[in-house]
């Protein structure tokens, strides 16, 4: 494979990864409402993507045209206009609908296992991988087949 081909492959892969990892905003969002203040609008957009539609549970508020989602979006706009902070708004909705309404669970001791488990599994995986690699490396050192090594 030529060096140029490798480089273009790398660029291509990087583009795909960027697309997957970037917080792509859904272009088919159903919410036509906008707020006059651009700063509030920006916060509004973030909030409605982070909050769950309580009826159609796998959609965010931004993606659902259910009545309740429409009403919850209006509630959020009203609270933003009234000068409430993002935390106030989330706190209010959690007090009414439970933490279930948050797509991103809170960092709390109750949720420690939820946040900690992936990290624990990652570390476990690395430890296992390192041990396996180490064992393989030991095998190559002791290998009698010098021809294969030198080829």
């Amino acid at each position: 494979m030529s060096r140029l081909a490798v480089r273009s492959n790398t660029v291509w892969l990087a583009c795909v990864m960027l697309l997957i990892l970037s917080p792509v905003r859904m272009v088919w969002a159903v919410d036509p409402a906008t707020m006059s203040d651009p700063a509030l609008q920006a916060r509004y957009e973030v909030l409605i993507h982070e909050l769950r539609c309580v009826q159609c549970e796998d959609n965010s508020l931004a993606d659902s045209d259910a009545w309740i989602a429409t009403d919850l979006r209006r509630q959020i706009r009203d609270m933003l206009s009234a000068g409430k902070s993002d935390e106030d708004i989330k706190g209010y909705l959690v007090s009414r609908y439970s933490e279930f309404i948050l797509f991103r669970p809170a960092y709390s001791w109750r949720n420690a296992w939820l946040w900690g488990l992936p990290l624990f599994l990652l570390i476990l995986g690395v430890v296992i991988a390192v041990r396996i690699i180490h064992q393989r490396a030991m095998l190559v050192d002791n290998d009698d087949d010098v021809d294969v090594l030198n080829s």
């Binding site: 009826q55 309740i68 009403d71 509630q75 439970s98």
Partner: protein, 186 residues
């Protein structure tokens, strides 16, 4: 045989046990447990269906047991619940207050005159703001509220006669007598 080959199998068995216990212990899959249970009901005050000039709210109902039932004529499940509510109303153990949610008053009046009226009072929430304050996700949902204004139980979804017996009547004090006719009730 190398016993290390049993490790994945062991982990798999552990996973199965954890998931099985989790599924068995989840109260009802997909049902939101309201954080409002055990707390003071959020203050609500809404116009009555029969006389929109008058309002009824949580303050006026202090000192009484009541069931707050959120419904709408657009809600199919509410139709399924209706006969159980009518039976409950005939028992007369506790008054049922209806919140007609995001509905046309004429449709609601029509529904009640055709199917019967299980409510001692019906109030209307056209805009759905009170519904959000009560944490309503979908109709029907019902609250049992005690005389101190504390929500002692919330039923998400249809109340069956069995639910009424098990979840509502069992929580009432014995011999709870309730005014069956409130002035202005239709």
């Amino acid at each position: 045989m190398n016993p290390r080959f049993l490790v994945p199998l062991g982990l798999f068995v552990v996973l199965v046990v954890v998931l099985a216990v989790g599924i068995n212990h989840s109260r009802e899959v997909g049902v939101l447990q309201s954080p409002l249970v055990g707390r003071q009901i959020p203050d609500w005050n809404l116009p009555t269906l029969t006389d929109p000039g008058k309002t009824l709210g949580s303050q006026a109902l202090k000192g009484q047991w009541y069931v707050l039932n959120v419904w709408g004529t657009w809600c199919y499940a509410c139709r399924a619940e209706h006969s159980a509510l009518l039976r409950a109303q005939r028992d007369g153990r506790v008054q049922i207050i209806g919140i007609d949610w995001k509905d046309a008053d004429s449709d609601a009046l029509d529904w009640l005159s055709k199917l019967g009226n299980p409510y001692s009072q019906v109030v209307t929430d056209h805009e759905g703001r009170t519904a959000i304050d009560l944490g309503i996700a979908a109709a029907p949902e019902s609250f049992l509220v005690n005389p101190e204004g504390v929500i002692v139980y919330k039923q998400p979804g249809v109340i069956t006669p069995e639910d009424w017996q098990r979840e509502f009547l069992s929580r009432l004090p014995p011999q709870s007598s309730v005014p069956t006719a409130i002035p202005g009730a239709s």
